[in-house]
Subunit: 250 residues, 2 copies
């Protein structure tokens, strides 16, 4: 059996089937930040994207709660699902964004959480951004795993996953390896998505497509990467310490 | 007549009606980057957003040219217009994204370019990102104005505006002031949108909503702003110098 190394090896094992779980009042940059970097991957690898929701109706980023829109702004954008949770094809990678919509009252998010639980065993990689980690935690798929989440929403998010090894001092957390499951949970305080998603998306691209691709994209972005996932001043800023025997993951 | 200062003065003169011009194969982050920061503004100011295209059909970010998708990836996302170029309401701010779609063959972009030309005199602010400056140039509205654009697409973009004072050495360019027209053109090389849009969107927010709002959002983003618009190593990297009697704008 031939031994493949470098870019060819990555081409053989790299994920090709990406999915994004949608819900009303998602945080736009949590989706479009990672996708913009992955769009660049699509020039070098044959990959495809499905956008998944409860129905095929457009899904809006607008605040759904009047309490979160006290000035009655009409500011938000809608994107179009390609599949429902019932019709989605098999996936290698599932991305779960955060946003205020993660706090929607039950049973609104039940189909999404059931989908995460159902699909998790067949995924190569699960990526959560911001409070999206809370949705994965509610699906139970992070139990016993290292994960992190939004620091300003820390208490409410970790309450969703009492068996998760939540890492407070982390820009991101990876549990598992490229050939099994990678959990990448962006750790950020409010409005920090646009920058942390860069670190994490490039880290993901490096893990699955190799250093050459990642370096090329980072250089194209003119972005100085944060390579130390524990270089996170915002845990202390929010008075947080690690819990559940968690340790910082490189 | 009372004299208003500070936050109150900004509330009185600040723009409220935002529009984004859409076209197929737009660069997703050119739209969702600025909008994510402006979403935060929507908590503090009553503002609204219209998404404008030729028809009300969803508009995709997917490459439209087979030459730009040699591996036949199916990777892109569609957003839903709220208005057409014929039905769009009056606007204070028009944002024009860049992307490969700016190179679509005529007459595909004619309605968009006509819309820019028609609406420009009634706008308070025009914001272009990346090669979006080329669309504004083709509409003739940048003639005699300072502007900048994507550096890797520099030659093809400035060819669209022979009467524009193109500034090569600039992260962004502002022509006019907050009470008339601001041109903010993001200068970036390929894939740099996600970072330069931050500088420029926060600069815009500072100009129209005041330093307090801009600082709050920048700090929330944990972002160290680039305050010098001419701190741009990528002009030299691409062998570019200023033309048409352009000078760097602060």
């Amino acid at each position: 059996m031939p031994v493949f190394t470098g870019a060819l090896a990555h081409a053989l094992v790299a994920p090709t089937r990406y999915g994004v779980a949608l819900f009303p009042d998602f945080e736009a940059i949590d989706i479009f930040g990672p996708l913009d970097a992955l769009n660049a991957v699509a020039y070098s690898y044959q990959i495809n994207l499905t956008l998944i929701s409860t129905t095929l109706d457009p899904v809006t980023a607008k605040p759904q709660s009047a309490a979160m829109n006290l000035l009655n702004s009409s500011f938000g954008e809608s994107i179009v699902p390609t599949h429902t949770f019932d019709t989605a094809p098999e996936l290698d990678v599932l991305l779960i964004p955060g946003g205020l919509g993660t706090r929607a009252p039950p049973p609104q998010l039940d189909p999404l959480i059931a989908f995460i639980k159902e699909r998790f065993p067949t995924l190569k990689h699960l990526i959560t951004v911001c409070t999206g980690a809370g949705l994965a935690a509610r699906a139970g798929v992070l139990d016993g795993k290292y994960a992190t989440a939004n620091k300003k929403a820390w208490a409410s998010t970790i309450a969703w996953g009492p068996k998760v090894r939540w890492v407070a001092q982390a820009r991101w957390v990876q549990d598992g390896n490229v050939l099994s499951i990678i959990f990448i949970n962006v750790n950020e305080s409010h409005l920090n998505k646009c920058f942390r998603w860069s670190d994490i998306t490039i880290a993901f691209i490096e893990a699955v497509y190799g250093n050459m691709t990642a370096t090329s994209i980072a250089n194209g972005m003119e972005y100085v990467r944060h390579l130390n996932s524990t270089d996170d001043p915002f845990a202390a800023l929010n008075g947080l310490t690690n819990v559940n025997n968690s340790t910082n993951q490189k």
